[in-house]
Symmetry: C2
Subunit: 233 residues, 2 copies
């Protein structure tokens, strides 16, 4: 009988924002897997560091820092094979994911490769979006309002059209696209409605009006823009 693969969301960064279920699974893990930037650190592992048993086996998924598909595909193929070998032996594998496994998470590439052949359970996590909203004190959506989630790397014209037609907007993966995004929001006259958030829930968190945002942003940064939330009902 094969083991079960668990895709476990860890939330936005503060370990206290992991779920009870995530905590339980990780604290009893014999084998954990997690993505790491090639030769670098793993944000997922850092969130769970105090919970991972000292004697657990750790499978590091080395993700190449490139937007090219082929090296990344090869990395996920190899990680999936390594995980599958443990599952074949009847061992459960706990795959750690920043945020939520199915929300811009690398776990979905492992899921795609293994879910047809092995039992998989996905444990949802707090996403960066609601974590940022909570920290910024910005209600995201009420009643019949729409929420649009846009990745920052989208082309300028598309960002402009999507933001223009949206109500509440969360723009993820701001990073080096900050200047472009800021320009789009400024051109739409919406800067006063936008808040910049960096590393939400972590000790070095930054929250400020978009107009006061720094010149450079890390990958884990977000802009929340709410045009119409009416919190008075």
């Amino acid at each position: 009988m094969s083991g079960t693969l668990y895709g476990v969301g860890l939330g936005p960064g503060d370990p206290d924002l992991m779920t009870l279920r995530a905590h339980e699974l990780i604290s009893k893990a014999r084998i954990v897997a997690y993505p790491a930037l090639e030769g670098g650190t793993s944000f997922a592992r850092a969130i769970a560091a105090d919970v991972i048993p000292l004697d657990a086996r750790e499978i590091v998924m080395n993700i190449p820092m490139t937007t090219a598909r082929s090296p990344a595909q090869a990395a996920y193929d190899q990680s999936a094979a390594e995980i599958a070998a443990e599952l074949e032996l009847g061992h459960d594998v706990i795959c750690l994911c920043e945020g939520d496994p199915f929300f811009y998470g690398s776990f979905m590439y492992i899921f795609a490769r293994l879910s047809a052949d092995y039992p998989v359970q996905v444990v949802p996590g707090v996403t960066s979006i609601t974590a940022c909203a909570a920290r910024a004190g910005m209600p995201l959506a009420a009643r019949n309002e729409r929420l649009t989630v846009l990745p920052g790397p989208l082309p300028e014209a598309e960002l402009r059209a999507r933001i223009d037609g949206a109500e509440s907007v969360a723009i993820l993966k701001v990073g080096r696209h900050l200047g472009k995004i800021r320009g789009v929001i400024e051109a739409l006259g919406l800067t006063r409605h936008a808040t910049y958030i960096e590393r939400a829930s972590l000790p070095d968190e930054v929250i400020c009006p978009l107009a006061d945002a720094p010149d450079t942003a890390p990958y884990f940064s977000m802009i929340i823009l709410t045009k119409g939330v009416d919190p008075w009902l």
Copy 2:
């Protein structure tokens, strides 16, 4: 010195999907507040039932079952006043919220009424969206894909236009709008990409292709539609 108001997300329903922080705050609470349908039960209280101390004071926010604004406003005014009276005495109040407090949560109406005058901390929770995706085994969004969140009560023409222009879509608050939404998705030729989920993570959960969905849906139901998630990277 006044007390602190905590808006605490409880996640989608399974108590194990609350965060460690939520569990800690609730288990030490002296005063909890939560919404309840007028004269009825409270889903939020049910999620936290095993964690609320037996001797905690409970403030029930009776929300009238109507789409009219005035009775609901009066109900939130009254609940906010009741909470404020405790904060004035220096008592912390833990306000329980299904899902996430700032994501279609009633807490935002309390937040709007009290956040200028009292310290407020918002604890994000797992939303129904990622919980449904996890249970349905449906990755929501990867790389530069967009995610659009639409409330089911939106007019048919708007739903149609928004779904047509979207990539991944989560439609919340399906309930009595199921027939309308199903018609829109069918007309767009997208039914085969859509999954119906009811009461995700709870014992009486329902998950099925939209084509097989029941004729009537409860308020806590959702349709997830993903056109283009490419999980192979």
